[in-house]
Subunit: 406 residues, 2 copies
């Protein structure tokens, strides 16, 4: 087990909250992030919410010396916001966009426009192929009545499936990102259980930073204090997860988070705290056993729980589809009635008072508007139903397999 | 090399053209397909354009005895249309939806609504893990002026990247589907060059079926004869591709296509001909060398050619984005002018003839409609530009890598 050289890997992960025109003191913070990254010299940097390509280009120029390899993942209307900087060559990249990501009409939340996804890089660090992912999942806007839970669960499931399918040839898998889930949430249990990924915070020998490893804390000047009221210490939603496949072993030697403002400044890097891990990767004599199988009874419970939630989401989506279908039908009916009335008027059938032209026109446009909107909604919810049903079906298959071969 | 047991794999691939209410004699054809599959007993069946879940369910019931394992891939508004039937267990599935797939406003082509994608199954056949994909790419509606070429190239690229990333742990990779590309097209050369997949038609020891392996032939009663005028023999756009990784070898012993009508009937299975391959998978002593590297100079040329086409598409998309942006601005300007006129009228500033109310209203609604439409188009083309640029950038990276390490 000993004797082989070990690799020490220092990883930095941060949700940068760099939204053009919206995020406060964005350019200053991006500059500070770049300075810190250049100073600290990590091996691997995973950033989320770098929405502006200009910010990425600026970082690339600044960090070119110490991180010669980088990639920016493009997706959606606004982008994925994901980028990677690396000291070692990035051999190949792939972006997987989740099939569900909120609702286009929830403009105030805007997740739908972002094309949330997981960006994947394949690199060689020393001799080991390393698969690294930088995911971001749909945000949670209201924990008590979380309308996006089914979507986030579909994303967690797709992320897990994607990791399983792409990690076959990698010795080490590393995932760092803003998962928008608390450690005890069903989605993170599902992701960890189904992929065998381990949580750097739980495994770290040493920890330094915000209490309980929180990454959204009340004493960060950019966080919404009212949202964090039920969590006086803050919440942990940014993770570094890893696992070793085949004959390697990964240990987290140290995990750190930033704790609010940058030393010597009055501003933190972001509204999230950064997570920094020092990992030791070591070749070991025997191939590591399937760590997954030992936890399978629990895994079946987690998949069942997730499937129930997806089922709830499915019924809501079906209800919404029915409602929009009905609305479209009503609008169509109104239009047909108007057309009949107009034809009647043209044929000179209305002997009495004619319907006022302006109101008639306004009503027609209203009906057309509602018809178009309701049809678009119907199509959208049809797609939603399809994806939720597909995920539920996949989970059912996995449960069956888990029960047949425990 | 000899001594190890070989596996014989019989594969069936067909674009079923089973669109509800639109495809002629759909139910009858699906029944015929089911009968043939049950009679022939293939090991693996890859179907595309099974748009109705009811058709899939009917097939599943009929084929349950000889193909106990199956999966239907759901995506998009209408669905992906992809399904797999297998004699061996399907261990896991994953669907990858292409980031670009035509234009939502090209209703007559409808590809955008289909969520075209590649469905992936991972199964064990005998002792070998087998990765199988069933892709469908954007259709080509006009070969001379193919507006969808850049989209199809992005799809071919994403498909190749997806295969590369997911195939690491598989001994054999098998891809069967309707690629909507002629054998000499840049997209298929890109896909084959970048993944190392081999064309069963070119490799087959024996071939039987339509001349040149064509799968869209003029003597099929459902094909559009005028579209096939430049190709008197027909075109070959449905493929079975394969490769062996690690220490396996795959040989195509026999390839067949159907040739029009089903024997004893007056109707063919579909407007496409089915492709059937008999493959021999054999373990060999030495690990197969990287077949990719020998062809790399050509690969660089193919990637360059594809990148040029994507670049052309990028400029068109940028132009369309600019046009829709301008149209949205004009509509906004018109609305503002109208608002100013209306305010003026309210304030009693128009001493003379007032603007007729009805026309005023109609103009307002027209401006709102154009504004909404142009904004939606602008957002759509922004996304298109982003994805085309992303693909171009990825291709540039690959070219650089190919030049640095020839």
């Amino acid at each position: 087990m000993e004797g082989d050289p070990t690799l020490r890997l220092r990883v930095f992960d941060l949700n940068c909250w760099a939204i053009r025109y919206l995020s406060r003191r964005r350019q200053e913070r991006v500059r500070l992030i770049g300075d810190a990254l250049r100073r600290e010299g990590f091996d691997l940097v995973l950033l989320q919410e770098v929405w502006s390509e200009q910010d990425y280009s600026d970082l690339k120029v600044k960090l070119g010396g110490c991180y010669p390899f980088s990639h920016y993942f493009r997706s959606g209307v606004i982008g994925s916001g994901l980028c990677i900087f690396s000291r070692f060559p990035i051999l190949d990249t792939l972006l997987y966009q989740y099939s569900l990501n909120g609702y286009p009409y929830m403009l105030q939340h805007g997740d739908w426009f972002c094309g949330k996804s997981v960006g994947l890089g394949r690199r060689r660090s020393g001799s080991q192929p390393l698969l690294l992912g930088s995911p971001q999942l749909h945000a949670e806007y209201c924990r008590d009545k979380d309308a996006y839970l089914p979507h986030r669960l579909v994303q967690a499931w797709e992320l897990a499936q994607f990791i399983r399918h792409t990690s076959k040839g990698a010795d080490v898998v590393l995932l760092g990102g803003d998962l928008n889930m608390h450690p005890e949430d069903v989605g993170i249990r599902l992701l960890r259980g189904w992929t065998g990924l381990r949580d750097a915070f739980a495994e770290a020998t040493r920890f330094e930073g915000c209490e309980d490893g929180c990454t959204l804390v009340p004493n960060n000047c950019f966080t919404d204090k009212s949202e964090l009221l039920p969590f006086p210490l803050g919440i942990r939603i940014d993770y570094i997860l890893y696992k070793a496949i085949s004959s390697f072993m990964v240990k987290c030697e140290e995990l750190k988070t930033t704790t609010g403002t940058v030393p010597g400044m009055d501003v933190p890097f972001s509204d999230h705290e950064a997570v920094m891990a020092t990992l030791h990767i070591q070749r070991q004599g025997q191939a590591a056993g399937a760590t997954l199988s030992t936890a399978e009874p629990t895994l079946a419970d987690v998949v069942t729980e997730a499937r129930t939630e997806v089922g709830v989401g499915l019924r809501v989506a079906q209800q919404q589809r029915r409602s929009s279908g009905r609305m479209a039908l009503l609008a169509l009916l109104l239009l047909l009635l108007q057309a009949a009335a107009a034809l009647g008027a043209l044929a000179g059938l209305d002997a009495g008072q004619p319907f006022p032209k302006l109101s008639f026109c306004l009503l027609g446009f209203l009906a057309i508007g509602i018809l178009l909107l309701a049809t678009a909604l119907y199509l959208f919810h049809t797609m939603e139903v399809k994806m939720l049903r597909g995920t539920e079906e996949q989970m059912r298959m996995v449960l069956q397999a888990l029960q047949e071969h425990p």
